[in-house]
């Protein structure tokens, strides 16, 4: 008998009575506010930032002001130029030279300040979102969902994407004597640009 069959047979013999443990209905609990303020508050708790436009700003000028030393600015959106397009990047090794990646997220979660990215937004180069030093995420207020329950219920991406990441602020660690450090091994900063 294969290990698969042995494991399944043992589980069948050993399991508690299924009738005594019915599946509860899908949970829909907690705050249903899907407003921008809630999203921004949550984002700030997790170390994310808002890229605030100043008078007459475009995304390009705001990025130039926020990242004055950036040499490689990679765009994964049609409406922003950058110094290189994600379609021109052929490998993770090449993507590792990126200073700022600009992407558009299909939705955000107000409860957590999370944004979602999949291969559809990253031109199948998923590593680009983690190898870049900084990430700027374009997000629309209309695409906010209230909390984790509504996100998993409403968003079709969870059923279609092969790779789907919820990023909640930048990478972080507290593994050395409990000191919180934002910018661990993935992005050093995550900024939201409202559209």
């Amino acid at each position: 008998m294969s290990s698969r069959d042995t494991i399944l047979a043992t589980l069948r013999a050993n399991r508690p009575d299924p009738a005594a443990h019915p599946l509860p209905p899908v949970a829909m609990l907690g705050d249903m506010d899907k407003g921008r303020d809630r999203f921004e508050n949550s984002l700030q708790i997790l170390g994310g930032q808002i890229l605030m436009p100043q008078e007459g700003d475009t995304l390009a000028t705001a990025i130039a002001r926020r990242f004055p030393d950036a040499k490689v600015i990679c765009s994964a959106v049609p409406d922003f130029e950058g110094t290189i397009r994600i379609e021109e990047i052929e490998s993770p090794q090449q993507a590792a030279a990126t200073d700022v990646l600009v992407v558009r997220s299909p939705f955000g979660i107000a409860e957590m300040g999370s944004i979602y990215l999949s291969e559809a937004q990253l031109n199948n180069l998923n590593s680009a979102a983690h190898l870049t030093q900084h990430i700027v995420v374009i997000l629309s207020e209309e695409n906010l969902t209230a909390n984790m329950h509504t996100a998993y219920l409403e968003r079709p991406e969870f059923h279609t994407a092969n790779y789907g990441v919820l990023m909640s602020g930048p990478s972080a660690t507290a593994d050395i004597q409990g000191v919180l450090i934002r910018g661990a091994q993935g992005v050093r900063s995550l900024s939201i640009w409202w559209e």
Binding site: S2, H21, G30, E111, H149
Partner: protein
Amino acid sequence: MKVKPVNHAKAAEEFLEDAPHLTFHDERLWDMRQKRDQQMHLLPEWQDLRTRASEIKEHTLANLPEYLEQFEANAKKNGIHVHWAADGAEHNRIVGEILEKHGAKSLIKSKSMVTEECDMRAYLEPRGVTVTETDLGERIQQLDDQLPSHIVVPAVHKLVPDVAKIFAKNYHTDPNDNDPQSLAEAQRMAARPVILTADAGMTGGNFLVAETGTFVVCTNEGNADLSSTVPNLHIATLGIERLVPRMADLGVFVRLLSRSALGSPITQYTTHFRGPQKGGEMHIILVDNGRSTRLGMEEFWTSLKCIRCGACMNTCPVYRRSGGLSYGAVYSGPIGAIIDPTFNERKYSTLPFASTMNGSCTNVCPVKINIHEQLYKWRRVLAEHHELPFVKREIMHMAGKLMGQPKLYRTAINGTEVALSTMPRFVLYNWLNPWGKHRELPHPVKQTFHSWYKQNRLKKDKAQ
């Protein structure tokens, strides 16, 4: 040869001798517990979430074979190679074979307790595979050749100078570097080139979703996403109990996990893998390693609900003051103490005694495992299986006799009072009384309750 039980008390004693480490460890973990409480108080639905999480997990465990088959079918449909490992040896063999097929010699990995359980690095390294842990805490532990001391924060027992020393030796940084920021940066700089040239990546995982064939990885540093997306070969290892039935069930667990673990609302990365990336290959290994047997243990099967948040460890006064390494096992703390004996009853026979029975672990558990009751039940099982150490067994034996005979008990208690006030220290504080090692015995009372009752109430009762 009979395996020796872990001497938890002795290891804890060594930990207790180092005041700076002990104080930091105790306070850091208690801080995590307090941050968890703050998050809990923000959510009026917290107890509902716990109840729901517990019900979903119990339902899934009762229907595990069907859900595993459903998961396997969906994952395969999405192009994931699904493997089954009965134990650690089979798991390691499978990983070795996949790597060999691809000629992969360097493996980068994110934190996985299951690969620790299987002792995978020790298997792969002699076969010419360089395994690099990419999680900062786990990497520190790898370089120091120690097990993780906590399931969420593996190097929580170390202070900055300890890390500086380890990095100086391995990364040639300044041994006197006292800045966590620059040490974390050193790890980033050391890991990047290894990640960019690795042949294969490996992750653990927090959840399997039967409905979609998805597995979910919750992390903070970004290393798991790098390990899984930079190389074109991704191997994921998960225990078979990690299942939930529906995608929508994840809402309950993601809302509880990081709040219970670190007191942050969510991990920085919550990643859903449903199939290989373009041009890539994806394998998932479903590991049993004792879990299917544990499912049949009437009093202990609910320990399989565990989502590995570590809240029980952070709150446990014994864990906080003894350190994870003192448990001598992959899983430490209260959850370790109830699952380790299922791996090796004799070796881990001492662990269920590393508890004050205060029940705090049960109160903070996000999936409502009755941890402290299982600790008690394990003690009973171990006593029945004659796995109690000599002193504990004899003391229990004597206590049993005394408690069973009121007259004898009263005489003994009176004797104790006399003993406590008159006997020399060396008689009271010795190896027969481990309780008195780091504590003073209580002051003797002037009068026992029984004799007071006899003097005051009994007379009155009779007079009435």
